[in-house]
Symmetry: C2
Subunit: 126 residues, 2 copies
């Protein structure tokens, strides 16, 4: 059975796939020109194409891989949300991501919920 | 190391524990008088004590158990967020929950992200 939220989930998965493709251009192209990013939630948002390019240019220098922990949930509106772990070179970061989309399927907003205690050092093997 | 977001995570866990305690009174007491609930996201919110009592009175009639799938993440503000599965009598509902708290630790807002496709029938054993 197809329900409207399956589109939201597919769009969220497309964003995750773009991140793991490690192309900032591909990721940024998924966003509206006037989109906002609040990452982490509780800090001032990044607004608009130029700031979003700067954000992902820096982020993709550090992120090795995004591991989805729970498949995206939909909503009865324009949002999808999911739990993921970001793998950095010697740390992991546990996050809840919330994306909203416009009618064209472009990302209107991205919010990433994580706090200081969600960033964990990986034990070295020796 | 204690960080400010540990308080947010503990408050979120307290809400989950209250739900699993299955006392609507205990759950409702965690909310501010003027709190809002948007569940599911994309539908009109429940506002204020009386509506929140009605919401949980009805919800706890249906919910058998809340299973946390990813431990609450914090934020740099007043929010915590986590992934969970709600067990109903013959269905499961997969959700991302976002809670915000005031300075006193009371819930200011609860948002639950789930769409039609997140509600899944459980196969009967025979």
């Amino acid at each position: 059975v197809s329900t409207p939220d399956l589109r939201l989930k597919a769009l969220a998965q497309g964003y995750i796939d773009a991140l793991n493709g490690r192309s900032a251009d591909r990721v940024v192209a998924l966003f509206r020109e006037d989109a906002t990013i609040e990452d982490p939630v509780g800090t001032p948002p990044w607004r608009g194409r130029a700031e979003i390019e700067a954000f992902y240019g820096s982020a993709l220098d550090q992120v090795l891989r995004v591991e989805v922990q729970t498949a995206p949930r939909g909503s009865y509106g324009e949002a999808a949300a999911y739990a993921f772990r970001v793998h950095l070179s010697n740390r992991t970061l546990d996050v809840i991501g919330v994306l909203t989309f416009d009618e064209a399927g472009l990302i209107r907003s991205m919010r990433a919920y994580h706090g200081p205690s969600d960033l964990v050092e990986i034990e070295p093997l020796r």
